[in-house]
Symmetry: C2
Subunit: 415 residues, 2 copies
């Protein structure tokens, strides 16, 4: 039997990589004063219909449950967040700085390398209209990527503003029911032939292409770049109005993170969605909001393909996973004394392993080394003394069994 197509098994090595990514995400979000929340993996289908972009709705992993409810595995976290905030915001002072690490789902025709699930870090600021919040959020996404060992040579945040385009649409008298379509055409322009974009834009093609050529700008965008410059992060960001984002609910500043080499899809993306909380609460609660998401799949590929980032990951995982003490039972009659000692060591917080079945001493030492233990504690004929072998230096000493804890605790720490 296999996992379902598009779903991943996480064997210990890949689970450790995933946890390394999650731990870094949590650490950096914490540095920015964000606190973690979560919501259900399954939501009512209505939460996503019309509030998100067409693309995400077409790809919903939706079904009808045993109680005849139309439900969907969450395709993204923002609607859940907006739902929670609309209901619960009164108990918190604003702005909220919240993050989550949801697994999200989509149902697409299976293609090679296209998964139906992935994990995301979502960071959102709710209840703050100041542009400082946009800068803070972009600084955070930069620091999230930097934390894995990447520099401004490796990635860049392209920052844009939907209001910039909406002003053009007003100026050109495009009816507002066609705005979303125009914005999506601009969003897709980099990935489609120029003729197709031109056809879709119609009379808007001329001014849009002009802006593409000379580069758009606005005071708001300039201010954000200036704020990032003050933080020492200017090298990681540039204004690029071609970024519009696929989700329908964005209202202002939007941004996407790309690898400079252009090998991957966007690593992360986000922006302002000042109307979504109001929409999901039937205008009972109105609250400015902004956020971004970064996924584990592209980021993981980038880490594995980057020497320094990969080395940092492997070093961290190696240190965290190693067994510290391996108990060797040289005489089976000593098993009782051995498990008694193990319990003491584990109670003190040491990671301790041993052979559950009787085994030759040489095999037990081999297992000790494979488990990357620092010490082997050997129970044999010398009882009530036991051998303590430092597996790094090879040095072995005999100590009284009730001195083992002190001996291990006082050993100089690992290189």
């Amino acid at each position: 039997m296999q996992p379902l197509s598009g779903f991943r098994d996480f064997l210990p090595a890949s689970c450790a990589e995933r946890n390394y990514i999650f731990a870094k995400w949590r650490e950096v979000a914490g540095r920015y004063g964000f606190v973690e929340f979560d919501g259900p993996v399954l939501e009512e289908l209505d939460l996503y219909k019309k509030k998100s972009g067409d693309e995400i709705v077409r790809q919903l992993y939706e079904f009808v449950d045993k109680g005849e409810r139309a439900v969907a595995l969450r395709p993204e976290m923002t609607p859940t967040l907006a739902r929670i905030v609309a209901a619960e915001h009164r108990q918190f002072r604003k702005p909220l700085k919240w993050f989550a690490i949801p697994q999200v789902f989509r149902y697409e025709r299976p293609q090679r390398g296209r998964l139906r699930e992935h994990f995301q870090l979502n960071c959102d600021i709710i209840g703050e209209e100041s542009p400082e919040a946009d800068a803070e959020l972009i600084a955070l996404v930069i620091d999230v990527v930097r934390a894995f060992g990447f520099t401004s040579k490796d990635f860049v945040v392209r920052i844009s503003d939907r209001e910039f385009w909406m002003e053009l649409l007003k100026l050109e008298k495009v009816p507002s029911n066609r705005w979303e379509e125009m914005l999506q055409t601009i969003d897709k322009s980099e990935r489609e032939p120029r003729e197709k974009t031109q056809e879709r834009l119609g009379k808007l093609a001329k001014p849009v292409f002009e802006i593409f050529e000379k580069g758009g700008e606005s005071a708001k965008l300039t201010n954000i770049i200036e704020n990032l410059r003050l933080r020492g992060l200017a090298d990681f960001a540039k204004v690029d109005v071609r970024i519009v984002r696929g989700l329908a609910y964005y209202t202002g500043i939007v941004f996407e993170v790309f690898d400079r080499a252009g090998k991957f899809r966007a690593i992360a993306g986000g922006g302002r969605y000042d109307q979504l909380v109001a929409q999901l609460s039937d205008n009972a609660v109105s609250m400015p909001a902004l956020g971004f998401a970064i996924g584990d799949v592209v980021l993981g590929e980038m880490i594995r393909g980057h020497a320094a980032a990969r080395a940092q990951m492997e070093k961290t995982i190696g240190a965290e996973r190693a067994v510290e003490i391996y108990v060797v039972i040289a005489k089976e009659e000593q098993r009782g004394n051995a498990v008694a000692m193990m319990q003491q060591l584990r109670d003190c917080g040491y990671r301790v392993d041993y052979s559950l079945a009787a085994a030759k001493v040489a095999r037990q030492f081999r297992l000790a080394e494979q488990s990357r233990a620092r010490f082997a504690v050997v129970f044999g004929d010398e009882w009530p003394q036991v051998g303590v072998k430092d597996l790094e230096t090879g040095q072995q000493v005999l100590v009284a069994h009730d001195d083992v804890l002190r001996h291990v605790a006082e050993a100089p720490s690992r290189a």
Copy 2:
């Protein structure tokens, strides 16, 4: 809009409690040399049909996906583990000691307090038939519960053996196609009227009730208790053959953890399932196995209802969530200098927060205190000096702005 019935939103306070539970689970499993894995939240329905107990199959959160596959949100982790092990075991030395923290699902008629999802710690040992493995696993479940601040006054593991009952069934010549039914009746006997159990057991009632009264025993069970005694854990365990467990795949030692006060359902449960890997691989791979699961819901209720356990949780969460440095912008012209400093502090790993919008100084200090920050760093007229206020002692000093990092790093640590 509400979450779906039976699904939880995790606001920051409850998410922090959940993460506290997860962190303890990971820590204790690590002490026992277990490594983490994970699998898909969605699996083929066939993976669960017939392999699990009737009860769990009736409650499956199953549906047909857009590709006409019969699938289910995982009701438990063991079938996924057995599937992975059957396919991948060759790359690992045995025994495997693996753990996972899956969210699992069931679809029941909604009742007050009955959730449709919860999280579990699953710990499994694969490829070891030695009874030492059963003792190691039971010691682990004891230490997992102890880690939250509970003692032998608070909980007990009741240990039983399905082989004990299967020997009786053989002795009494019960046809093997009725064994599972008999075992389930014994399993339910504590929760059903004696007459109903008697009726279901038929001629088996007499010997079963006799065993209930005088207490069953076996050499295997006595050995496990003795092993736990050597570990200093005897007070946490007792033999109780009335435990059988609801899942069909158990084959040997089974156990459940209960609070001594009897206020809750079982906190945790597990046992040996030596045939499941073979069943799921059409006998291509045969491997002895055993494991347990402990859920977050009952455990969380127990923690919140126990003074010492609750205090330990709140202390840990408080220390982890506190902002360390709050930046106060007393003059808006200083915002640039403030964000530059914040970036330096965050780069050094400090958790730093500030007001994203202009605000009165008094309000910013109030926010600093509410965020439980240790220090406020104040940017005002004194630039290039800044104020550093220790919010615990109330002491404020002026320091050169490029001395702030050193000043903060050298401060004596929090009480």
